[in-house]
Symmetry: C2
């Protein structure tokens, strides 16, 4: 199947949002998505974009049964490592089920690697659920190593409630 990978523009925002929601449903975490479309569009395509995306597009004649031609996305943002410098975090990589097996995911990843290197970034990281053996195999085959297993790093998270408590803004704290 023919497809092209290109940087996303504002006109792609609705498609990216659709793909991200599909991914959340696929990961059975749709209930955790609290972001609104308006916030997402502003955050990604406003004056100071907080993330960038690559999209995979198929020709009109290969569109999905729902009529979509944007069938995959890699959404990422820039991070910083005080050991290595500039880096990239791949937040979401998703290809619609009907378009898998044609190398679209690999091509999104490979194009992103080019972007990462062009931006003089030294590392790219991605989070995967441990039980998602398919994704882990995909990234490992592409050359990634598991920091959690190899270096035994854990990620700790403060959510809104604990942040408020920490900032002493919660009168009940």
């Amino acid at each position: 199947m023919n497809f092209t990978i290109r940087p996303a523009v504002k006109a792609d925002c609705k498609d990216i949002w659709r793909l991200i929601r599909e991914l959340a449903i696929h990961e059975k975490v749709a209930n955790k998505v609290v972001l609104s479309y308006e916030e997402f569009e502003q955050d990604g395509f406003g004056k100071k974009p907080l993330f960038e995306s690559l999209v995979a597009e198929v020709p009109e004649e290969n569109k999905s049964k729902e009529g979509f031609t944007v069938v995959g996305v890699a959404l990422y943002y820039y991070t910083y490592c005080t050991w290595n410098g500039r880096a990239v975090f791949l937040e979401d990589l998703y290809v619609m089920p009907g378009f898998r097996g044609f190398g679209i995911g690999k091509s999104l990843l490979s194009t992103l690697a080019k972007v990462v290197l062009e931006k003089s970034c030294k590392l790219m990281e991605v989070n995967v659920m441990a039980e998602n053996s398919q994704s882990r195999a995909f990234y490992t085959a592409a050359g990634a190593w598991d920091v959690t297993v190899m270096d035994n790093w854990h990620t700790l998270c403060f959510d809104g409630k604990s942040l408020h408590k920490l900032a002493n803004k919660d009168p009940e704290s």
Copy 2:
């Protein structure tokens, strides 16, 4: 001990660099720091800063035996979560050994929580080595939960070599 927490300015860069290197030595990973000071200064205090910092400063009369008044740092950058929106990653939090036990680390973290909320961020994440039980206890007591353990997410990493291979820029690949 009196101390103040304030946002870092360019004049603090050398102190921040010193503290970050101390932390790397403390974590026995000094050999992994490949970044140069010049890159670090440009990345943090150039036209488009890739990270921000809060510093902890003590009065001149309480300076360290080496003569330093900047004795702690919290270095962070903005990230993005497609479930929750804007977020912050705390890359490094460090207080010089002689200045521990006065609440400086807690105060850096608490001030950062205020910044995070003011910037309308919904989450703050931090990585800790699993065997660093002191740090894990510090963050957990402050309200963080362990995403690696609770949600079983793993972080995979592509380094320069695998990125080049992936981008097909390595003629040997």
